[in-house]
Amino acid sequence: MGTRIEAAATSHRRPWRRSGALKLSDHAATACLRRANHGADDLDLLINAGMYKDRGAAEPALASIIQEDIGANPGSPPRIGHHGTFSFDVVDGACGVMQSAQLVDAFVGSGSARLAMIVAADADPSPLTSRNFRFPPVGGAVVISHTSGDAGFHDFRIRTFPQYASLFESRLYWDPSGGIARRGRNVLEIVEAPDYCAQLVECTEEVVRELITGIEIDLLIASQYPRDFAGRLAHRLGLPAESVPHVPRELVGSYTAGPIAALEAAIESGQLARANHALFVTAGAGITVAAALYRS
């Protein structure tokens, strides 16, 4: 038993709107379910992989709020005899979607879940005070179900390179002289080294070289941040430029939802359906690389 992608959808902030990560997640999740022709109640599992949430909330898991908003077995009283929905967050930055895909593949593979959705969105939690926040407000969702054939995800590879952990860091710290009347405030800061992208490509190549040996990859679904990561990686791997889906302008540079933006573009252009072997790969802070192969 494997897992196959049923649908993907993205959302982005419209001009003059202030949609935060939750709204972006809700919109993407609803659109994705519509495309997959499923009701929200059909979901067994909902994982949120978005990193930068509204007001930086640490509790509860954003996934549970999305579950409530989209009406996926919100549950009180629980209808015993029906199935409910379990939701939680995976916190792994740019690799959150692929880490979640591995978990979905596990739960669907074991038969515990039959239908799952991964949602990811980022928006600046504090636009007036954050430093170096550089991701566009974009959300994405992907619905994954079980398949009895050979199609779907296989060969997940996840590796970390802690020697490069300092190349990308994000933190919330107390600035005692900031804020109103200099009384102090919490500040979100992202620090990225100039050679971060180059090192991401190096590490990713090391992980996926072995994975794709002897396989002709015709589609590359990759992180969209840094912006030239996917193109540089394709070049390094010797993949043709056409193997990289063309992501719409408003989704370029999207963070946790980046691979979903590429996936949506590949589905809409027919590239995913035509691809014999797709390589999904995300890379981010850590440095962490999470990759898998996908057969259509």
């Binding site: 640490a58 919100p74 549950g75 029906h82 379990f86 515990s112 919330l172 804020g179």
Partner: protein, 363 residues
């Protein structure tokens, strides 16, 4: 019949292996703070007898040199010291903390804390990631490991969490005026680190016989924790009474349903270890479960009186304490029950084996 929970039971028979708890470790800060002292620190005169209301006598409070990360690493090392394994043997490391302090008041988003933890314990080759599921985080991690081990995808893994969370109480103490304050629950919190290794059970051992989770998302906004805007750290706003009502109303049928799916019942449970929020909440939960099911577990574990609510670590702190006190016997059936903001309800039932019961002391 499908249980309401996303569930894995040994009855399903589609998994080649079963998983078990191999060892449990904790890290507790040295500093003790009584509830009396904590209430004396509130800015306003509240007349609230929090110790009487919750049964919590004292809490542990991390010092300035301690962090979520250091508590997690300390617990992970303690866990390995009681284990047959070294860090290099671990296939997966999952960090599940709500708080992510790495140094003083610096809360780290990226890279994930699991990366630093696995490096600190020599588990470099392990797959690692963080999950966030409020106080149900560690049990969520166990749920994930159980699945991977049962399928044979991995042999063993660690779930770890460090909670430096008493800062919420420090911030709440400035605002609380009455029992109606949404920040009152922040004064019940305590700091702690906990870690647990889950591995493939030897063939003759039952290990984890049941694991299930669900989210009653209709109540997702009843407890929210977020960075404070005018003070270091965070704040938590909890509609505690409402959460308690929902847990009392919706918890028992879900628990009954999942136990039935696993072919067991509450009367067969030797020890129930519930999430530790307050002694009073645990006692009324016990009563509601008994009312619904007509039977009781033989014992209900309470450690919140001594440690406070240590967020995602409570279940494993309690498990560790009772293992250390040699309360369990081989063959005891133990049920871990998480009720956390979300509203998350998680259940893991396992059979204590000899190794666990000695808590590594024969190692």
């Amino acid at each position: 019949m499908t249980p309401w929970m996303l569930a894995e039971t040994t009855r399903r028979g589609n998994a080649p292996f079963s998983a078990r708890f191999e060892s449990v470790g904790v890290q507790l800060p040295e500093k003790h703070v009584t509830t009396h002292d904590l209430m004396a620190s509130t800015r306003h005169h509240t007349r609230i007898d929090l110790e009487h209301l919750t049964g919590i006598r004292e809490h542990r409070m991390a010092g300035p040199d301690e962090s979520s990360l250091s508590l997690a690493i300390g617990a992970a090392r303690d866990c390995l010291a009681r284990s047959n394994y070294t860090g290099a043997d671990l296939d997966m490391v999952i960090n599940a903390s709500i708080t992510r302090y790495v140094d003083g008041s610096i809360h780290r988003y990226e890279p994930p804390l699991s990366l630093s933890i696995k490096e600190a314990i020599g588990a470099s080759a392990a797959t690692s990631f963080d999950v966030s599921n409020a106080c149900a985080g560690m049990l969520t991690g166990v749920f994930i490991l159980n699945d991977f081990i049962r399928r044979g995808a991995i042999r063993r893994g660690m779930v770890v969490s460090g909670e430096k969370i008493t800062g919420l109480g420090t911030n709440a103490a400035k605002d609380i005026r009455s029992l109606l304050s949404l920040q009152l629950a922040s004064l019940t919190l305590g700091d702690a680190g906990a870690a647990v290794i889950v591995d493939r059970a030897p063939p003759e051992h039952a290990g984890i016989v049941l694991a299930g989770f669900t989210t009653l998302a209709e109540h997702s906004r009843l407890c929210v924790g977020l960075p404070a805007w005018h003070a270091p750290g965070a704040r938590m706003f909890t509609r505690a009474r409402k959460i308690h009502e929902v847990a009392m109303e919706d918890g028992p049928p879900i628990v009954e349903d999942i136990l039935a799916a696993g072919g067991t019942n509450l009367g067969e449970i030797d020890w129930l270890i519930p999430h530790q929020t307050s002694v009073r909440a645990i006692r009324s939960g016990e009563k509601e479960l008994a009312k619904r099911m007509g039977e009781r577990p033989k014992h209900v574990v309470v450690t919140v009186d001594e440690y406070g609510n240590t967020a995602s670590t409570t279940l494993f702190l309690a498990l560790h304490r009772y293992l250390t006190d040699k309360k369990f016997h081989p063959g005891d059936k133990i049920m871990l029950l998480s009720v956390a903001s979300g509203l998350e309800v998680g259940v893991v039932v396992f059979v204590m084996d000899e190794w666990e019961a000695t808590h590594g002391h024969t190692h």
